[in-house]
Amino acid sequence: MAYTKSPSMDTYSSEDIDITREITSRAGNVQNKDEDYLNVFMEDSISKAAQDNRQFIVKRAGSNSLLASVASGTIRGSLYWRDQQRLYYAVGSNIYVRDFGAGTTTTLTPGGAWTSSGTVGFAEFEFNNGTTALIASDGTSLIQISTTNVITFCVDPDLPSPHDPNIIYIDGYILLVKLNTADIYNSDNNLPLSWTAGNFIDAEMEADYVTRILKVNNYVVACGTETMEYFWDAAIATGSPFQRNDTPVKRITFLSAYAQEQNNSYFVGKDLNGDYQVYKLYEFKCDPVGTPTISRYLNSLNTNYTGWTGAIVAFQGHQFYMLNAGTVTYCMDLKTGLWTRMAYKGNTNFNIGRSHGFGTTSSNSSIFTLNDGTSNWYYFDETIYQDSGVNFNCVIVTEAADFGTMNRKNMARLTIVGDRPPINSNILIQWSDDDYQSYNAGINTNLNQDIACIRQLGNFRQRCFKLTHSDNTLFRIQKLVADINKGNS
């Protein structure tokens, strides 16, 4: 290359703006600052064989109505009985049974001491003769529901009462926790409605009460107000057949927002230092899987954590843990561990109540309810990008980009590298040059064109972009490319 006494520096360049980050908020009570992702998730396309390491931001699937509301009031508890292709859900003093095979809905009214409010827990039960039934608890009563929907009350005076309604089944036993004790009771084997006064085991490694029991692999985890202890079925002949496994005890408090995926349990808890955290309980481990952003948000709520809900949902080849607390619903992709936000229709959050993996011989999806005072059931529908006919926004807010210098820069063009939809579909591009304090009105550009871009983006030092897409079509984006001219001051 020839020598020149007048070297020049080209100030023009095309710069990639990485949008595949994670939701971040600098303070718990400060929303809408820093990176934000609403109604989208990240998808890796990592294939070592193909040397493909692309990453995408993908708009979530829409949802549609599955079952109309049968009664006003929040759904107290539910279970999808896969063997029977039936959905059982408790509303008020009734239990509704939707038989997807027969296409019918049956209303069961337990009557008696069955309450009309509060949580209802369900568990499938298999008898040693191969028959099955459902066991349900409202915290004071325990009932058995046969496959022909015949209800039988537990009248055994040794049934612990009151107890936590979140019962579990293991090895022919129904297990439950008597409230305000550390006692884990088990039913008589093969007799879910038969209880013996002395058949319990204490979670007494620490002197805290047990508030809930979970099932992890073949273990029962007793969640206390300060600790978590592991128990397993040791087939002890007298009293409780269970025995504690001392080693994996955790100094973590289970609080709320529980959801289970395979052998993994997700919930909001806190350690002894008192910071809210999202945990994943699996095998003998309990790892925090939240982020400081989520902890800060939960810390800022100052609301009763018992109202926070968790749910596992699946769509578009991904599984998610959704945490709904306060006015925000955070959502973690179980594969990538990355958090985004979700919102139903035009709401600020996705107020999910309960969810189940729903499967028949011809369909498979996640179904869910909302904590909206109705007993509607919905399902995620990958063929639409609306919630029950209403468009929803998916929003991506990037970090503030300075392109390596705080000097002023001009931006001549911003190009969206993403999928071209089959229909005309606009995306609104806004930006903020004052650290997310204000956004301009923005410019729309049609994604269905040769190059989806906007021009004349003016001057800035640091700039963050907000992309909003709301049409009923798939939106998948890889990155932004900015054509800039770097200034000298």
Binding site: A441, Q456, L457, G458, N485
Partner: protein, 241 residues
């Protein structure tokens, strides 16, 4: 297809300032300048406009002013609020005296030559000189007018200053071929404030000069230019010794 039939287009101060920012690429599509940016842009526009006084003799700013003299008074201030209350001349181009319907050309002298004329002479003025000052100027006549000069009127032809932009809707005191030079020259002034890279600033300066030169080419009269010996008593004679 039909032409518009429109021969005039007027852009306001804010239009021009905004256009200058667009040339710099510093505002986005649909963005409006904020108050501070408009204020600073107006300052740049007026500064670049003021500098254009040094460029040529714009025909559209040629003006005339007719006055009468006061006996024994040879010096008159001219400018807004002065003895001759009119926008002050930047350059004096011509002066003639009118005596009962007859126009008599007067010599416009440089300050140097004017100062060589005899003092204490009175009569009907034959020569005039002009000293521009800050926001006004001074006309001096020779000889000093006497009472007989009162029956004459004196008309000066001069270049008046460009009008500055004050209000947002003010239009330019320039013909329309000057829009581009005004916009680009304003952009040149603003460029350092926005940190425009040096290479782009150089390009911008080149474009501004190009458009200015092209606009200036419209600034001459379509009349013949005559060059002839200077025949009157004056600087040429004095040089002979």
């Amino acid at each position: 297809m039909a032409t518009s039939g429109t021969y005039s287009v007027q852009y306001s101060r804010d239009d021009l300032v905004t256009a200058a920012h667009y040339k710099l690429g510093v505002i986005a599509d649909g963005q409006t300048l904020n108050t501070t940016q408009l204020t600073r842009g107006t300052m740049a526009l007026n500064m670049s406009l003021a500098l254009l006084r040094a460029k040529g003799m714009p025909l559209w700013e040629r003006n005339s002013y007719t006055f009468s003299t006061t006996s024994t008074v040879s010096s008159y201030d001219i400018g807004t609020g002065k003895t001759f209350n009119t926008p002050y001349p930047l350059k004096l181009l011509q002066c003639y005296r009118t005596d009962t319907g007859t126009r008599i050309d007067m010599d416009v002298e440089s300050d140097y030559n004017f100062n060589q004329l005899p003092i204490n002479s009175t009569g009907i003025p034959l020569k005039i000189t002009y000293q521009p000052k800050v926001n006004y100027g001074t006309l001096r006549l020779w000889p000093t007018p006497d009472t007989t000069a009162a029956s004459s009127t004196f008309t000066i032809v001069y270049q008046q200053p460009f009008q500055y932009f004050v209000n947002s809707t003010d239009t330019a005191d320039f013909p329309e071929e000057w829009y581009l030079p005004l916009v680009y020259r304003t952009a040149v002034v603003l460029a350092p404030e926005w940190g425009i890279p040096l290479g782009d600033r150089n390009m911008l300066i080149g474009e501004a000069e190009k458009y200015t030169d092209e606009a200036l080419s419209m600034g001459s009269e379509d009349a013949s230019l005559f060059i002839q010996p200077y025949t009157q008593q004056g600087w040429g004679e004095s040089m002979k010794g």
